[in-house]
């Protein structure tokens, strides 16, 4: 008898919290289907009177959002591929391969996490300019191909690979590359999905660096295009919300599909057990 109210309270609070978390996103979806100017009325409408695709049509036909979407997709995919390529070997090596200075180098890398990335942005921009990597996708992809967080993620997971397994393979005469390919990679599969998810999401959502590096609007990614759009079209709520939907929905769906891996990655090294 006394348990019921407590259970009600807990679940009601959770529902309230979930509502607060989701309300802006639901409103975004709703307004994106409103007619131009409909949202600018008082009291603010929550649902469109007659759902219309006008905002989306304007976005794709006149604002080139289809192209921005393609750019975002390309960059996020390419970044994910590069990240897997560069970070996984390094992460495994830091975990399981012994080489001179391994732990010292890893500690230096961890120290780099304290340095805000923005410190490097300006000289990096000037550096990339001298090699012609400004205002193209290379400038966005290459500096991000490897990162301390990705290496850390892989390393933490790779630590759990049993040493005996690797030793046995070495005794059998397998080369390190062979071992990596046949034993380590399959064992690392869950963290590979995590790393891929993290990288895809982070690249898709990245804003400041593409803003600086890409000046040609044909290369814009969705966040940069949206920011640019928001400066010009501050009155067109419906248009902006449609743009927000196009930007947010893909990653939200990706997250929901892969949340197990994403959350595991989040916890890597944060909490033991």
């Amino acid at each position: 008898m006394k348990r019921l109210p407590a259970s009600l309270v807990v679940n009601a609070l959770l529902a309230l919290a979930a509502a607060v978390a989701l309300l802006p996103l639901l409103w975004m979806l709703s307004v994106s289907f409103m007619r131009p100017g409909e949202a600018d009325s008082f009291p603010p409408p929550f649902l469109p009177r007659a759902p219309s695709l006008a905002a989306y049509k304007e976005l794709f036909a006149h604002q080139g959002v289809g192209r921005d979407f393609a750019n975002s997709l390309f960059l996020a995919s390419a970044a994910t591929a590069l990240s897997l390529l560069f970070n996984v070997t390094a992460g495994y090596a830091f975990a399981k391969l012994r080489f001179a200075g391994r732990d010292r180098v890893f500690q230096i890398l961890l120290g780099a996490l304290v340095i805000p990335g923005q410190v490097a942005m300006i000289p990096l921009f000037l550096m990339l300019k001298t090699v012609g990597l400004v205002n193209n996708f290379g400038g966005v992809l290459i500096p991000a191909a490897a990162g301390v967080f990705g290496i850390f993620l892989v390393r933490q997971y790779a630590l759990s690979i049993p040493d005996e397994l690797l030793e046995a393979a070495r005794v059998d005469g397998a080369s390190e590359f062979r071992i990596f390919r046949s034993i380590v990679l399959p064992a690392l599969r869950p963290i590979l999905v995590t790393l891929a998810t993290f990288t895809f999401l982070a690249t898709w959502n990245d804003f400041m660096w593409p803003l600086i590096v890409l000046s040609d609007d044909r290369l814009y990614t969705l966040p940069v295009a949206l920011a640019s759009l928001s400066r010009e079209h501050v009155q067109d709520a419906e248009l902006m919300m449609a743009g927000a939907v196009v930007t947010v929905l893909p990653v939200l769906l990706l997250f929901i599909a892969l949340q197990r891996y994403y959350i595991r990655g989040l916890l890597a090294g944060s909490v033991k057990g």
Binding site: H62, V134, N135, F137, R218, R231
Partner: protein, 428 residues
């Protein structure tokens, strides 16, 4: 934002986009890149088809930049080597780009041109494009600030004609304020815009910078007089100590008489016509800026068209500029944007001649003065307004404010003084 609706499919662009970005720009056929800001960027695309037909083999790619990000964008593009061929830039930015040696000198081209002539332009506006004796831009459209006012409220307060001197303006504002009482004001001078104060400052004879543009001259009696007048308007409660963001919908506020005088620019000609309710359309009017002793000078604003020095397509770029400077295109551009033409004879278009609200601009443009042509000027003007806003909100004295502005200006100009001393920079 590329305004042209894409002819290629999205998939084609997916391939072409990154590839085109990786190549070095020297394309097949001439593709002119043209960056334009704000509304102009949205609209100018419509004018391109005629140009392309008249210049076969040339296509124009318009990219639109929002004004608030344009300055940063341009400098970043300069540093990154990705500037376009032709660009619209605010004429107050020109000295900066000349200092960067980013823009092409145009004297020879203008001399040889049958379309672009200095005599067709307003004197003050043309002068903004001449930096150290060289011409670096062609005026595209002009901008100045003047009075937009409620003539019905002014008449009710006892003033049948708009003020032409500061003293008259002050009495008119006081009369209106007495009439509207508390809860409303006589004028709106947003504290985050430096143009109104700058206009008052330019109406004085003393230059705003001294020593060849190496030091601030804000402690001159002339500037202090302008600053004092500005401060008095707020001190007497004639204008709200508010910024643009505080006002909300300023058209609604103007319509309901929250303020009767507003110092603003030509874009509001169209906005007022569009956003004020129909019955109020007869109630508002424009008038040239009152000066200390008679009709005063105004800001020589507006945008110019420039060719960037590193462009490999300067001849085609110049042809685009000539095209945009023809009387006919200037008139069409005005019809599309409401931006006032820089060519005097484009003002003879019947629609402009009959626009009673635009007449004040025509008059004011004959009396505009350029701002100091130091690359640091925009920052100095921003600091000047920050101090002026503090003066209003914290009740500083005019002397304190002027000293502070000078201090900040001198600090900003330190490098310039060093350059001038080494003979590198050029006096403003």
């Amino acid at each position: 934002m590329t305004v042209r609706p894409s002819r290629r499919s999205a998939l084609g662009q997916l391939v072409a986009g990154p590839l085109a970005a990786c190549s070095n720009g020297a394309g097949d056929g001439t593709v002119l890149t043209f960056w334009a800001m704000g509304r102009e960027g949205e609209v100018v695309q419509a004018l391109m088809s005629t140009f392309e037909r008249a210049n076969p083999g040339v296509t124009v790619q318009v990219q639109q930049l929002p004004w608030s990000a344009a300055h940063a964008k341009l400098l970043t593009a300069f540093a990154g080597g990705s500037l376009p061929d032709v660009c619209q830039i605010g004429n107050t930015w020109l000295p900066e780009f000349v200092a960067l040696r980013a823009v092409e000198r145009l004297d020879a081209r203008v001399l040889a041109s049958s379309v672009v002539k200095p005599s067709d332009a307003f004197g003050g506006i043309w002068r903004t494009n001449v930096v150290d004796g060289g011409l670096y831009g062609v005026p595209w459209y002009v901008d100045t600030r003047l009075l937009f006012y409620r003539r019905d409220l002014l008449a009710r307060a006892g003033f049948g004609a708009p003020p032409t001197t500061w003293a008259q303006w002050l009495s008119a504002m006081q009369a209106v304020k007495r009439m509207v009482g508390r809860g409303a004001y006589a004028a709106l001078l947003p504290l985050d815009e430096y143009e109104p104060l700058l206009t008052l400052a330019l109406q004085q004879d003393a230059p705003l910078l001294r020593d060849g543009g190496g030091r601030g001259n804000f402690r001159s009696p002339g500037f202090k007089a302008a600053l004092a007048f500005y401060a008095e308007i707020f001190a007497r409660g004639l204008a709200p100590p508010a910024s643009d963001a505080d006002i909300g919908n300023l058209y609604d506020e103007f319509a309901r008489g929250y303020f009767s005088f507003y110092v603003t620019g030509p874009w509001n000609l169209g906005e007022f016509k569009r956003r004020l309710p129909a019955p109020d359309q007869g109630a508002w009017m424009t008038a040239p800026m009152p000066g200390p002793g008679g009709p005063g000078a105004g800001l020589a604003g507006g945008a110019s068209l420039v060719v960037f020095r590193r462009s490999p397509r300067k001849d085609a770029a110049w042809r685009l500029i000539e095209y945009l400077s023809t009387t006919e295109v200037q008139s069409r551009f005005w019809a599309l944007t409401g931006d006032l033409p820089s060519r005097k004879d484009a003002w003879s278009a019947p629609a402009l001649v009959n626009d009673i609200h635009a007449a004040a601009f025509r008059e004011q443009l004959e009396r505009v003065k350029p701002t100091p042509q130091a690359p640091e000027w925009e920052r100095i003007a921003t600091e000047m307004q920050l101090v002026a806003a503090r003066m209003v909100s914290e009740r500083l004295t005019v002397d304190e404010a002027a000293t502070e502005i000078d201090r900040r200006a001198d600090r900003l100009l330190e490098k310039r003084r060093w350059m001038l001393a080494r003979g590198l920079g050029t006096p403003a």
